[in-house]
Structure formats: C-alpha cells, structure tokens
Symmetry: C2
Subunit: 305 residues, 2 copies
C-alpha cells in the first residue's frame, strides 16, 4: 500500500462524487426547463438509471480539482463536471447496447436497455448527450459567454468523431485485427483519453488559467487517460468479473489487442509507474494545491475495479 491511496483520497473522491451526484439529481428533475415542452417520465427514468449509478465520478473529480487550482469552485465547476458525466454515461449506455458490447450489467445493475428497452436506451443516451450541451451553455453556470463557448466546443471535439465516438468506431473495427502499437495508442487517446483530457482542460478554462495552464493540465489529463486505459487492460487480463461489476476478459474474447496483452503484465505495470511519475511532474508548478490530482494519478493507475 502507498500513503496516497490510503483513506484520505478515497474519502475526497467520495465527497466529490456525492456533490456531483446531487448536481446530477437536481439537473435530471421532472420539471421542464424554459423551452422544453415536457419531460417524459420513462425517458427521464432511463436517463437517471444511466447516470445515477454510483459511479466513482473520476472525470467530474478532475474537473473540480483542476478548477480548484485556480480557486474556482461552486456552481460553474459542478455543472461542467455534471455535464461531462452525462457525456461519459451516454457513451456507456450506447456501448452496452446489443449492437455494441451487448452487456447486461453495469456496476452490478442491469444496463439501461435491460432495465428498460433498447429503443429507450438509445433515446436516453441521445438525450444525455444533448443535455450536456444544455447544462454547459446555460448561464446558470455563471461563466462568461466566451468560457461557456470554449467549454462547449472542446466538449464537442472530445466526444465526437475526432474523439470518443471516433475511438469507439476504431475499437469496433479493431476486433479480430492486429493493430500496431501506434494505432492502439491513437485509438485509446480517442476512446478514453479525450474526455479525461477534457476534464482537466475544463478546470483550467473555468478557473481562468492561461493557455499554458490549459495545455499543461491537458497533458496531465492525457497521461492519466493513458494510465486509466492501461489499468483497465490490466484488469481485463487479471481481475475477476465480481470485483469489476461487469464482464471481464472480453478484450481477449473479442480478439482485441491491447498494449497490456501485447507487452505483458510486467511491462504494463512499469509503464503505469512511468505515467504516474510523468503526470506528477507536470503538476510541479502548482505545488501543494495539486495534491488531489497527484493522488488521482496514482489512484487511476492502481485501481482494482
């Protein structure tokens, strides 16, 4: 065990997750907003099922922590964190669909298409994605128009064809293919890296960091995004499905090459240590203030589920 994964960090993460969960619950209210006709109950329930699922809320944590480097806390960071989680959860709802990964369970609970039905799961994912842009564009964030636009544009780029959705498409195409290391890295930078990177850049934008801050924190996000993926690949190779709350060993079964399967467990663990060190180095300019982010880097690399 390492001092930085002892209870203090897990408690910090849990406290942050609770604030984000409260924000999400508040946003996924039954009352229609101005400009909305009505919020159909079953669709709203499906959206809630997909979002209010007890996730660790790592991406929101990164938004809140990077924003707090610039003393930006409160509603703006919470709303952007919640919007990002809506995008993350939409991607999970769609990824779980029969035509995609065909998963019945997510965090030990039925996936949205199992708890509701496939059409509702498609629409719930669509609505979560759409709502994310609503949450960020709304002046309830109390951010300037320029900041809200920068957050909107970067989110669209991180989530769309050139980011997460594109990475997912590459991942589907990779089944049964032998990808070169470089192709795997690009796939992962898109599929999981882009949103994690966005989380860290968003904090710099919310907190009025300068361009150097945004780039630096973006690099930090990219490093822990890759660590996140490597840890995931490692868990897919080693962990039981019980610990993960979802099916494991699926990458191998699907014939998907991962960096971990390509290079083995020891290499992957060494890479993870290197990425954590690199991520922590990037944070040097922020001193003690960045301790939460340093702990997050280690947590991502060492997580067991």
């Amino acid at each position: 065990m390492n001092e930085t994964t002892t209870p203090p960090f897990e408690i910090k993460l849990a406290v942050s997750a609770e604030m984000v969960e409260d924000t999400l619950r508040r946003l996924l209210d039954t009352r229609p907003l101005e400009g909305e006709v009505a919020r159909p109950q079953r669709l709203l329930d499906a959206m809630r099922h997909g979002v209010l699922n007890g996730g660790k809320r790592l991406r929101p944590f990164l938004v809140l922590e990077t924003a707090s480097l610039f003393d930006a806390q409160g509603e703006a960071a919470l709303r952007v964190a919640a919007a990002l989680e809506c995008v993350h959860c939409y991607s999970l709802v769609h990824d779980d669909l029969p035509a995609m990964d065909d998963d019945d369970l997510r965090r030990g609970q039925p996936t949205v298409h199992r708890a509701f039905d496939e059409a509702t799961a498609i629409l719930a994912g669509d609505s979560l994605l759409t709502y994310a842009f609503d949450i960020i564009a709304d002046d309830a964030t109390l951010l300037s128009a320029e900041k809200r636009l920068a957050l909107t544009l970067r989110l669209a780029r991180a989530a769309g064809i050139g980011g997460m959705a594109g990475g997912q498409a590459l991942d589907l195409a990779a089944e049964g293919e032998t990808l070169a290391e470089e192709e795997i890295l690009r796939l992962q930078a898109m599929k999981t890296g882009a949103l994690i990177r966005y989380a860290c850049e968003a904090g710099a934008i919310i907190g009025s960091g300068n361009d150097a801050d945004r780039e630096r924190l973006g690099e930090f996000g990219a490093a822990i995004g890759l660590a996140f993926q490597l840890a995931d690949d490692l868990l897919d190779l080693t962990a039981s499905s019980e610990a993960m709350g979802k099916a494991t060993g699926k990458d191998a079964a699907a014939g998907k090459a991962t960096l971990a399967s390509l290079h083995g467990i020891d290499w992957t663990r060494a890479q993870l240590r290197g990425l954590v060190a690199q991520a922590r180095d990037i944070l040097a300019p922020y001193g003690e203030e960045a301790e939460g982010l340093r702990q997050a880097a280690l947590f991502v690399a060492e997580r067991q589920n």
Copy 2:
C-alpha cells in the same frame, strides 16, 4: 395547382438545398479539426451517408429564409442551417434502427445501419448530434459569443428530452395506446415541431431580430411544424410507398393514433388550410420579404412526399 407551388418556390428550395449540401460536404471533411485526433473513415462515411442523402433541406431553408428577413446571409446562417440538418439526420439514423422503426430504406437508399452496420449507425448518429454543437459553437460562424450560446442552448432544448428525443419516446410509448387529442398535439410539438420551430427562431437570432421577432417567427415555425406533421399523417393514410421513398401505412399498422386518423381526411385538409392561413398572417409584419416563408408554409401543407 396553386401559383405558389409552381416551379419558382421549388427552384428556390432546390438552390437553398444545394448551398446547404455544399456546406455539409465541406464540414464533413476528412481532415480533423483542431482538438480532434483523427476522423475514422468508415464512421465519417456513415455520417455522410446519413446526411448527404438528397433531402429537401426544409429546416435549413427555414433558417436561411428567416435570417434573410433581417438581411443576414452567408456563413453564419449556412453553418447553423447545416448544424440543424445534422441534428435532423441524426434523429433519422437512430429512428431507422432495428430497435426503433426498423426501416431498411430512406429516400430510396439503404438506411445507415443497412449500408454499414448497426453499431456504426448508432455512432454515426451520436457523432452527427455532437458535431452540430461543434458547428454552432465554432467562431467560424462569425456570430457573437452571446448569439452562438443562445443558438446552442435552444438547439439542445429543441432536440433533447423536452423536445425531439422526448417526443420520440412518447411516440414509442403511444404504440397500441389511444391518446387524447391534446396528448397527440404535445407529442407532435415535441417530435417534429421543436426542430422546425428552432429553425425559424434561429434565423431571428442570427439576424439580430428582437424578442418579438423571435417569438413571432417561433409561432410561425410551430404552425408549419404542425402542418408538416398533419401532411405527413395524411400521406401515411393516402400515399403510395413509391412516392414517399419509404414504407407508408406504418402508423396504422403500429396502431398509432394520428390527428388525421382520428378526424379523417377532410378535417385534416381543412386544418391544413387553416394552419397555412395562420402561418401567413403571422408573417404580415415582414411584407414582401417573407414571400419565401409564405410559400414554404403552403409547400409543407401540400407536399406529396
């Protein structure tokens, strides 16, 4: 035949469609934008298949025409028109999926999941929706930050749970149910009305119309949105699938009540005439400048496919 549906309007619509198609083709380019890692070819091809399909581009036409009431033409209106069409086409791609309407054809061509595969169709829809927000938020629109945000927020509300996606969910739930007239109206205001209304409001925002302009043109959009749906219901009752380029008689087969099936063909035609008159009245303050919109109202009500 009526003088306002003679070639001049259809040519006007076709010219507008061509400009929008050019804009969409330009936006759906292979080169990644700043902040995008790469644009996977197959996903991009699927997005193009879903969008560059020879549609009439009615919603974009409404954006361009309402913007031109305020002498706003060019890149801003074209980009917003193209973004709106991306949202419309994403909804068609997802609606056509096996879990939704399960359609094999759209405008006489294979639907995206038939031409590609189901997973790619889901991701192509997701990516088109995401890209719409990118297109509007980008400063390439040359619009002020405030206008881009207003356009973003209203689009999210028109497309999300309180608008189009919510209407689609209500529509799914309505199969085999007997809805009251009021429920059908609400369903249609969401499912098809919200985006058409948005098209007209967007023109007012782009063109710096005042609040009264935006509300007035929004009402015009709501009136022709309802007319559009009534005409669709009527066509579903009367037209051949050949003229429509898609399967017809599906509402009745699915046990869906429509206003046309509830009240009959004569009542529906009378309603359509009333809506056209109402839509034209709303445009009175804009004089001759609004002739294209007046023609559009009639076109929507009288369309044969």
